[in-house]
């Protein structure tokens, strides 16, 4: 029973993560993906978040037509960076400011991890790609940080209360 409820929980949270990203694809790099993975990492733990991140990366690339060995591993690493840090050496961090700062940094880490696949796809010069990517990196980092700063505390409270209420 516990396993079924865990799987159901992961499916629902994955659905929220995936749908919000698809809904926000019209504004490149403005999304709640980073924030939601931060929230999941803190509330439901490493194993479940790992599963959600893995499924999300596979689904996202399947839908977007980029299910390629040059994209999927780098994207997975970019998102996996969040539970990896937040469930290990940042396990005790609950302060929204510190988490927002972490999300800000993660925005850049994620973008840098995708530079090799971007270079392979566009055949652009490394320096030109790096310079042109800076505004997109800033947008991802700031939207991540803003979402964590304002939404982490209330949503983590709601999620924790509901998990407790349903004994999950």
């Amino acid at each position: 029973m516990k396993k079924v409820s865990d799987l159901t929980l992961c499916s629902i949270l994955l659905c929220i993560l995936f749908v919000q990203e698809q809904l926000l694809t019209w504004i490149p790099n403005v999304q709640f993906t980073g924030f939601l993975i931060v929230l999941y990492s803190k509330v439901i733990g490493f194993k479940k978040t790992f599963l959600i991140v893995l499924c999300h990366t596979l689904l996202d690339n399947l839908i977007m037509g980029t299910f390629l060995p040059t994209v999927v591993p780098f994207m997975f690493l970019g998102w996996f960076f969040i539970p990896l840090c937040l469930c290990s050496f940042l396990k005790r961090v609950e302060d929204p400011y510190k988490l927002a700062f972490f999300s800000f940094i993660q925005g850049f880490v994620y973008s840098w991890l995708l530079i090799p696949s971007g270079l392979l796809m566009t055949s652009l010069d490394f320096k030109a790609y790096l310079i042109q990517d800076i505004p997109f990196e800033i947008i991802l980092a700031t939207s991540n940080a803003l979402a964590v700063l304002w939404l982490y505390k209330p949503l983590s409270k709601v999620l924790r209360e509901n998990l407790k209420k349903h004994e999950l």
């Binding site: 019209w26 504004i27 490149p28 403005v30 977007m64 037509g65 980029t66 390629l68 040059t70 400011y97 927002a100 800000f104 392979l120 796809m121 566009t122 055949s123 652009l124 010069d125 030109a128 790609y129 042109q132 800076i134 505004p135 997109f136 800033i138 947008i139 980092a141 700031t142 939207s143 940080a145 803003l146 700063l149 304002w150």
Partner: protein
């Protein structure tokens, strides 16, 4: 505590706004009159159309493409326009796209970022995503 949150948020919003402003307000208008030659080439390297176009100060590449070529389809990606279709070429920007060569050099800018210059040569080449 609330003031701190507002100050941090304002800083982040300024960063976000600045980045979006940078992406949306690229000066792409021609600074003078001139002539540009535009070639449309398909995936098999067949020349679909070649045209020499006169432009005036303030014109943009997107405007002259729409005025002088058939079936021009562009899409706003949130910050700028991307060229998806022109003449008989149709791309989806995922598995195929229109590669832009300016004076035989791969352009690091899209159609919305290229400033027209006299005697410029622009090749629009259908290409598959290189993986």
């Amino acid at each position: 505590m609330k003031i701190k949150k507002i100050v941090v948020s304002l800083f982040l919003v300024l960063c976000l706004g600045g980045a979006i402003f940078l992406l949306r307000n690229v000066n792409n208008k021609a600074e003078g009159n001139g002539n540009v030659s535009i070639n449309v080439i398909d995936i098999n390297q067949n020349l679909i159309k070649s045209q020499s176009v006169d432009f005036s100060e303030g014109d943009t590449l997107r405007e002259i493409l729409s005025a002088h070529f058939e079936n021009v389809k562009t899409e706003f990606n949130g910050f700028s326009y991307i060229l998806l279709e022109i003449e008989t070429i149709k791309t989806n920007f995922t598995s195929s796209y229109i590669k832009i060569m300016v004076d035989d050099v791969y352009s690091s800018k899209g159609i919305d970022g290229i400033v027209l210059k006299d005697q410029m040569k622009i090749d629009l080449i259908e290409d598959r995503v290189n993986l």
